[in-house]
Symmetry: C2
Subunit: 147 residues, 2 copies
């Protein structure tokens, strides 16, 4: 998996924590420990959703959190980025072979990984941007949070 997801989540948390302030890609890159171009490339994926407002040009431009941090989950973020958390990346066997094992294992494993991926999304839908912030700053919001 690409670590772009980590960058995006980090940016979301940072932007949310800095409230209405507009942050430049440079400021975000410094905090995330990466380069501004990468931040811009990743946050550009969120242009057509309401989570982040982008001011593309002019001094004072940058990114601003514009969603409900309690509603936006890591699953939402991953979904927009089309992240595959689990992926085989390589298929054993060959569909054209006679042996049912050789011809079937590729698709079968793809299916299993696809299921695992869905489970990841499901799990991440329980973690909101607010939750992350609370975990970092130690401010427990819900009493019943697990661990």
């Amino acid at each position: 998996m690409n670590s772009d997801f980590c960058v995006a989540v980090h940016a979301f948390v940072y932007l949310n924590h800095h409230g209405g302030k507009t942050c430049s890609s440079k400021e975000l890159a410094t905090n995330i420990c990466t380069n501004p171009a990468r931040v811009r490339k990743i946050l550009a994926m969120f242009k057509n959703c309401e989570f982040i407002t982008t001011i593309e040009s002019g001094p004072g431009g940058g990114y601003q959190f514009s969603g409900d941090p309690d509603k936006i989950t890591l699953s939402d973020i991953a979904s927009i980025m089309k992240i595959d958390f689990v992926e085989p990346g390589w298929r054993s066997g060959d569909t054209d072979m006679d042996c049912l094992i050789a011809s079937g294992m590729g698709n079968l494993m793809d299916g299993i990984f696809s299921d695992l991926n869905k489970d990841c999304y499901s799990k991440l839908s329980d973690i909101s941007v607010s939750d992350i912030e609370h975990r970092i700053f130690g401010t427990t919001k819900k009493a019943g949070g697990k661990s």
Copy 2:
């Protein structure tokens, strides 16, 4: 993730399906569509467990399934191989920075991915080697299998 896991599962299913027969790394590699050296390297990880018997030398050497295909699950296989299905591979921020977000996000994301990984293991503990075989050959063993 590495696709070694796919190779291992494929080999397990193949060996199981061929009963007591001893198969060489070459035969397995042909079926999996990879090279014998890779098969040997991967199956060597199972030397100290009872799932597979290895005859290391001499003509007629090779690998043989020696476990209970109903009991051995994909989770068992992954566990022995120490597979990380989900891994960040890159840490945003830096533990030494003052900002709590910058210093905390790395560990926090690691924790989340670690949880996802555990969930993957949990899911895979429901899939046995027999299950895979049944899926491939269309022989339904349990009536209540999902999909």
